[in-house]
């Protein structure tokens, strides 16, 4: 599933360019190790620190299953504003915002069933930054030489209207199914 998603955007945006440079960096090299990357990473403690200047979620008491908190399991690699706090949900953009065409995919363990799910972190686009519930988790995230698993970039980048509004976390499969 992850490979399929990555494939889709690779096909859509980079095919021609990749062909040109194929002798140097095969497409496979960009993707080959993603599979192994998804397996085996342990859910180690993260330091959730508030960089929102105290404006966002700092004072919030967070029940574990609250999708409006950074600690919600699907957000294990989400860097940005939770759409759940912005008028959307984990699977929907707030009114007036458009889901990004391209995305990156994280792998998060659901504590309820112990399964590792592939989570698509689409950005919602075309509106001012929501500014609420700023989160920053980075499980299995990598620098942008592994673009498909990088989160320090605006994933609205391929859209006509690229303003970053917030981020959803949509289940797109199971990691090791």
């Amino acid at each position: 599933m992850l490979l399929q998603i990555l494939q889709t955007w690779i096909d859509r945006f980079t095919e021609r360019r990749i062909r040109r440079a194929a002798q140097l960096t095969s497409r496979r090299s960009t993707l080959a190790k993603v599979g192994t990357l998804l397996v085996g990473g342990a859910a180690l403690p993260m330091l959730p620190f508030d960089r929102s200047g105290g404006v966002a979620h700092a004072a919030k008491v967070s029940p574990v299953d609250d999708a409006e908190t950074c600690e919600y399991w699907r957000n294990c690699a989400l860097d940005g504003f939770l759409c759940t706090c912005c008028g959307g949900s984990v699977t929907s953009c707030p009114p007036g915002a458009e889901a990004s065409k391209v995305t990156w995919v994280g792998t998060c363990k659901n504590p309820k069933d112990g399964r590792d799910y592939l989570v698509s972190y689409n950005d919602c686009c075309g509106k001012v930054a929501c500014g609420r519930c700023l989160c920053n988790y980075n499980e299995r995230e990598r620098p942008a030489y592994r673009m498909g698993v990088h989160n320090d970039i605006n994933w609205c980048m391929a859209d006509k209207q690229t303003m970053y509004h917030c981020t959803v976390s949509v289940i797109v499969g199971v990691a090791n199914a």
Binding site: M1, A43, A59, G87, P95, D113, V128, G131
Partner: protein, 384 residues
Amino acid sequence: MKAVRYALRKGALIAALAGLSQAGAAFAQLPVETLTSEPAIKAKNRIYIPDIAIMHIADGKLHVVDGDTGKYQGVIGTGFTGQSKLSKDGTEVFIATGYYDRGQRGNRTDIVEVWDATTLRFKYEIPIGEKRAMALNYKYLLTQLSDRWLIVQNATPATSVQVVDLAAKKVVSEIATPGCWAIYPVKSNPNKFGTLCGDGTVQLITLGNDGSAATRTASEPLFDADADALFIQGEATGDVYHFVSFTGNVVSIDFGGDKAVAAGKWSLVSAAERKQGWRPGGYQVVALHEGTGRLYVPMHAGGGEGSHKNPAKEIWGYDLSSKKRVVKTAGHMSTAIGVSTDGKKLYAIDAEKASLVIMDLSGKQPKVKATVQVGEFPSQLEIH
């Protein structure tokens, strides 16, 4: 499952995983999901809260919150010191604003943007002149008189208004209003508005069919901007506007006739309270429910010259006909307040915490129902 997750977070990995794999058997695998966009906000009663975002003043916002639950509904960007106004039918939001083509610099464009009030989608824009007032968000700096007339406050710093013809989608006139400020609609006449002037008079202007000032009258002096200035925001019952003054008087002015005339003056504060410096303070200092005749004012103690923007220590409520205080409740550090259209909820913007406090008015005293953090510098609220 909390214990399991806790163990995981503590790094007791092996034990936790053993626990999880057993737990896993009891749960069905979650299905693959489909990503959508919310077509529109769901809340029936909405509060629209403009935010000048002064730290990033070119990037203001209009926040939309559920007036019943406090749940955040969505946002519209409002550009550089944009003023917003819900359309009379509640289906659209007008935003008078401007942009530079390089953010902080470059070429400037001033427009009225028209947005859908529930889908929060942009509909169209109308070019306006660059005299648009670049002001903190206040009620009455952008006023819709009728389906046709939308009036934009100007300041260069000389003051005037520009008249937007919503049907023709263009500015049709500029009307000088020197020494005067704000645009108060007059319910009985969709072509008429009033404005408060620094000499204590109220001007009434009636638009001709071409949008120019067909008639204009000035009242006698009705207030004293030195000794007891009126806050610019007031609320109306019919054509009678109720303003409050810096020292705590209610000054009612009838906008319905040819000239504006005094329609009563009384004090919010007793002699003892006046001595203690109880005064109104904030940016939106009058909340009025016309049906029940309840008027609310955010009050602070120890006030004096210069305290007129101080946040509230208490909110006081009055019966407008008897002029008696019937409510005295916590102030929530508010600088802007409002009442729901059914009169059953009181809203307060906590300026210190940048939050909206929703109070239930059904009991004897207001009771906090929800508090939601909203934006950075909210100074106004508009109730749908």
